[in-house]
């Protein structure tokens, strides 16, 4: 075995390393894309939005082989507020420079309305219905022509400005858990989140159904009473759901990997959130409120 270092000096080294990482990371600057609302993006994408499942194939065929495009959409014939909020938030995301909205023609969700909302945000947007464009093949060709034009325009016209960690919002998602996740991968994400928050950026973690068993542990991280109430409500909702469906978000693969209980898996997942105070709970498509770390 290698020479052992005492835990106190090991912690001292770790603090020093964190400090120097923080200093270099906090001052790091790179070029980003300035959006009309003042936010900055790390990408300059043309977003293709489909407004019903029947337009999904055409949207993906338009994007196929095209640089700097992403596809999002909503499958239902009938809209709902959740879906519309989510699409509009993504269509006006800082990484998006322009939008092409594609509908079939008989659905509730209106591609024209999405294009209008995007234009109101200062971006360029176009839209069309497949049924008014001659069908699948002609719609794909038309879409590709529009995407090429939009991409050329945003590459030419988007102001390129310096940005830093303070301009970033980073979210963490789930991954397959085993007994090592809570020791290595997830704490590494948490350490990055601490650096990000200390540099003035914003960190978002999710999956309250995988915080089960950690009610007190999580509430103790709340920045204030309001955040504590929000966390408690989100936790209680998730626990109620798990109880009602008799499902606690641990899978056979988790067990085979060494995890035994949802409480244990939750601790690994929670490690991704780092150690800084939790400012509150946001819903899907909501922007994190601006706060100051003092």
């Amino acid at each position: 075995m290698s020479e052992k270092i005492s835990s106190s000096s090991s912690r001292g080294n770790e603090a020093q390393i964190n400090q120097s990482l923080l200093t270099s990371t906090a001052t790091k600057s790179w070029n980003g894309y300035l959006r009309p609302d003042g936010r900055k993006g790390v990408r300059n994408l043309v977003l293709i939005v489909y407004t019903v499942e029947c337009a999904q194939h055409v949207a993906h065929a338009i994007a196929n082989g095209e640089e700097d495009t992403h596809v999002i959409g909503f499958p239902g014939c009938y809209d709902n507020a959740y879906a519309i909020r989510l699409m509009l938030a993504l269509a006006r995301h800082p990484n998006v420079g322009a939008v092409l909205s594609v509908g079939l023609g008989c659905e509730y969700t209106q591609p024209e309305k999405i294009a209008e909302a995007v234009r109101d945000s200062g971006r360029t947007a176009e839209w069309f219905f497949i049924q008014q464009s001659g069908g699948t093949r002609t719609s794909v060709a038309k879409g590709k022509e529009i995407v090429a034009r939009l991409r050329e325009q945003i590459r030419r016209d988007t102001p390129v400005v310096p940005m830093s960690l303070a301009d970033l919002t980073v979210g963490c998602e789930c991954g397959g858990s085993d007994g090592t996740s809570g020791l290595a991968g997830n704490p590494a994400v948490g350490a990055f989140f601490d650096l990000l928050v200390d540099a003035g950026g914003c960190a978002v973690f999710e999956e309250t159904v995988e915080m089960i068993g950690l009610r007190g542990h999580m509430l103790a991280r709340a920045a204030n009473a309001a955040a504590k109430d929000q966390l408690a409500a989100a936790y209680d909702k998730a626990e109620k759901y798990c109880r009602s469906v008799r499902q606690w978000s641990v899978s056979p693969g988790n067990f085979a990997g060494g995890l035994t209980t949802i409480e244990e898996k939750s601790l690994g997942a929670f490690a991704k959130s780092g150690t800084r105070p939790i400012q509150g709970v946001i819903r899907v498509a909501e922007r994190p409120p601006v706060y100051t770390t003092a």
Partner: protein, 109 residues
């Protein structure tokens, strides 16, 4: 020697960092010791750091992760056969090795 990592000082289990055959396991992290495992324990799985009595809390990350369903001697593999969730009532019914549910039919009655 295979190693196991103890996260917090109050933890009564540690996580195997290597696959361990029956025999000595080196404990590193919040404390240092050697614990004798009477059976093989796979990487990512847990080893008891001290004797844990039935119904006693099992502690990892300094937090209660469930309770022992039987007496667990120091060195034992701690998993579905001797540790169960405080919340998930199905946790004690899972197949020890694959983790697959054994109560599937009861979910449909």
């Amino acid at each position: 020697m295979p190693r196991a990592f103890q996260i917090q000082a109050e933890d009564n289990v540690a996580t195997l960092m290597d696959d361990a055959a029956a025999g000595p396991v080196e404990i590193i992290g919040a404390s240092k010791s050697t614990v004798n495992a009477p059976e093989k324990i796979a990487r990512g799985h847990k080893i008891a750091l001290r004797d844990i009595s039935a119904n006693e809390a099992v502690i990892k990350f300094g937090v209660r992760i469930g309770h022992a369903t039987q007496a667990v001697p120091r060195g034992a593999w701690v998993h579905l056969h001797n540790l169960t969730s405080d919340l998930d009532e199905r946790s004690g019914t899972l197949d020890l090795h694959s983790g697959a549910p054994t109560d599937t039919s009861s979910a449909y009655v």
